[in-house]
């Protein structure tokens, strides 16, 4: 199966071509502020509907890598992160380019994005099989406890306002209850519409909440805009990789630490590159011998942010493959794509669909090589793309999202669902509610309820096995610990803020 999966990607010219296209388009989406890796994948889904599953998942993985990597270009050159994954790259990347060292900043960003992806891939290859071995023994008790643990993570870590995070998280759970109930298949909230029997498709929820809501928000702001005041730095020189070997050596420890942070945050459900780059940056700063230099334009900051966000990619795929729980919202789309192909991610995937796993590995390696190559040679071109106005891009993206929604079941119902979730996303954005808890709640809702009810029917309604089975108990304890730690952290940061005022 290893050979089958690897060769399906590496020995197949069409597949190599598509991985190249995926990486390329991903970078474009990554570098344009307002377009994200999630949107790029959403847009490309219909392309993969009729592809072989290995090829389809390879394209999407390539888009993911390109999308996370491309953000550094706009972060460094115009001080606007192309994606949330590059927010911390601005902090030192832009000062560097303002000093006339844009070439160096870009070179460092690109090389360490590549290295971060590779370390993440290594972690994925090494951690997934043993984790799947353990997960294969999990029953409904363990799965229920894991989902509970996952829910506490996303909800508390994704925002500073715990109540609002919890509210959107539960809202996601609520949307997951639409359709036939697990176990007894009773209709719930279908309002007699047979289209709702199987519930909302994850793709319509994700694309609606993250992409359509963006378009609505842009429309609202459009008349206010008086052209953006940002200046694009277009003339820069770069020799070789833009930095010296001595400079590289000083960053090796930083690279491994940032990768570790990226991978761990990736594995934790619901938390992705948007968080890992900032955490990695602040850890690099606090552990540095010269923290005062951070923010003035040193490569340490760029290395920390760009290594971590790319390492997160490998991390998010680990729980996706081994447990069927995506590590962040972008990998939730990969989950949707896999399910559409009839592949259920989970511990059995290594035996039943091993070729998919190895295709993902191969695509990640290949795509990060392409990324290195495309970004180095295409840098100047991508800068020009930044000048394409958003008012033209957003309608085009919407049309492609509609194609994707329509293609799910060849019916307009999914397009309406897309609009509905776009509206929900818009309202949440207006009320300053965090969005990612909604997606995780939605993804975990059915897994949680099904396993809860299955577990209780095994034990004839007795909940004690949740606490007496060691793994299940461990995750419940972890859930409580994470809840306490996070609430404490929020309390502390708020205390600090009021002290500062």
């Amino acid at each position: 199966m290893i050979a089958e999966g690897m060769s399906a990607v590496l020995l197949n010219p069409t597949c190599i071509f598509w991985v190249f296209i995926g990486t390329f388009v991903g970078i474009i989406f990554g570098c344009i502020p307002g377009l994200t890796a999630t949107m790029a994948i959403a847009m490309f889904l219909p392309v993969t509907y009729n592809m072989a599953s290995t090829q389809g998942i390879s394209v999407l993985t390539a888009l993911y890598i390109g999308g996370i990597s491309g953000g550094l270009i706009s972060a460094i050159l115009i001080n606007i992160p192309g994606t949330p994954a590059s927010i911390a790259t601005c902090l030192d990347g832009h000062p560097l380019s303002a000093k006339g060292e844009a070439g160096k900043a870009l070179g460092v960003g690109i090389v360490f994005s590549f290295l971060g992806t590779m370390v993440g891939l290594l972690a994925l290859v090494l951690i997934s099989p043993p984790l799947a071995e353990i997960a294969i023994k999990f029953g409904p008790y363990e799965y229920f406890s894991i989902t509970i643990f996952s829910l506490t993570l996303i909800i508390t870590l994704s925002s500073t306002n715990v109540i609002k995070g919890l509210m959107t998280g539960v809202l996601g759970l609520v949307f997951a209850t639409v359709g036939l109930a697990p176990i007894d298949s009773v209709e719930r909230y279908t309002f007699g519409n047979p289209n709702l029997n199987s519930g909302f498709d994850i793709l319509t929820v994700l694309v609606g909440v993250f992409a359509i809501s963006e378009i609505l928000l842009a429309a609202e702001e459009a008349r206010a805009s008086t052209g953006d005041g940002s200046t694009v730095i277009t003339d820069f020189t770069i020799k070789g990789f833009g930095f010296s070997l001595a400079e590289f050596r000083t960053q090796i420890f930083n690279m491994f630490r940032s990768s570790a942070i990226g991978i761990i945050l990736g594995i934790l459900p619901g938390i992705g590159s948007g968080t890992s780059n900032m955490l990695s940056y602040s850890v690099a700063k606090s552990q540095s011998k010269y923290p005062e230099k951070f923010g003035t334009g040193i490569i340490d900051g760029v290395v920390a942010s760009e290594t971590a966000n790319n390492a997160t990619i490998g991390g998010t795929i680990i729980p996706l493959l081994t447990l069927g729980i995506p590590g962040d919202s972008t990998s939730a789309l990969l989950l949707g794509a896999l399910i559409m192909k009839g592949i259920q991610p989970g511990p059995l995937i290594f035996q039943q669909n091993g070729q998919i796993v190895y295709a993902i590995y191969a695509a990640m390696g290949l795509s990060s090589l392409f990324m290195l190559f495309i970004m180095f040679f295409g840098m100047r071109g991508f800068v020009r793309i930044l000048k394409i106005p958003g008012y033209l891009l957003l309608p085009l993206v919407f049309v492609l999202c509609t194609v994707g929604a329509y293609g799910i079941n060849n019916q307009l119902f999914d397009c309406y669902a897309l609009l509905f979730f776009g509206f929900v996303g818009y309202l949440l954005e207006k009320g300053k509610y965090p969005m990612s808890p909604l997606i995780l709640g939605f993804v975990l809702g059915n897994i949680m309820e099904m396993n809860l009810r299955q577990a209780l029917s095994y034990s004839h309604g007795d909940p004690t096995p949740f606490f007496t089975r060691p793994m299940s108990c461990t995750f419940l304890v972890l859930a409580i610990v994470s809840l306490i730690v996070n609430i404490f952290a929020v309390y502390k940061s708020r205390h600090k803020k009021t002290a500062q005022v």
């Binding site: 509210m167 109930a181 719930r188 909230y189 609505l216 459009a222 919407f398 609009l419 309820e449």
Partner: protein, 166 residues
């Protein structure tokens, strides 16, 4: 507006959760005395959201009082008037709905072209709105719609509504 954000948001959530809870009561039940049946989880979610949104409103009121005492301006940047924002939002949302509603009968190519032209015009800042730019957009929109249709239908064997052209 920003001042009341928490209170409005909490109220909307509360009403939604209440309706959701009431909806849960009419979910069919099979005879059985399991505590966790198909009604249990929805009821639980409904109650959790109602409690959380009540808390949000409460904290919102407390914060508002505090802000009033400190006389603090909470708004981020000067924006358009709320009225204009609502009009822009309604227009673009209406456009999205019309696009989807007519997609089947009129067809993908025509509807997409029209949609892109109208949406782009709507998104264009006022000072840039002129016939030349709209004309350019129309050309791009038509080329894009035809290309997408060809690529997906011919290249990827996907069905898209052909409508009156089909």
């Amino acid at each position: 507006m920003a001042k009341y954000r928490e209170i409005i948001g909490g109220c909307v959530f509360f009403m939604f959760a209440a309706a959701y809870y009431v909806g849960a009561l009419s979910i069919k039940q099979f005879a059985g005395n399991d505590m966790v049946d198909s009604q249990f989880i929805p009821k639980l979610y409904g109650i959790i959201i109602m409690v959380l949104s009540a808390l949000q409103v409460l904290f919102g009121i407390m914060k508002m009082k505090k802000d009033e005492a400190e006389d603090k301006e909470d708004d981020d940047k000067p924006h358009l008037s709320v009225q204009q924002q609502i009009i822009s939002f309604l227009m673009s949302f209406a456009l999205l709905i019309i696009y989807v509603a007519l997609l089947d009968s009129v067809g993908f190519i025509i509807m997409s072209t029209l949609f892109i032209v109208f949406m782009t015009t709507l998104l264009l800042p006022k000072e840039k709105r002129n016939t030349k730019r709209v004309g350019m957009t129309a050309v791009i929109a038509a080329a894009f719609s035809v290309a997408v249709y060809m690529v997906f239908v011919e290249g990827f064997a996907l069905t898209l509504p052909a409508g009156i052209l089909g």
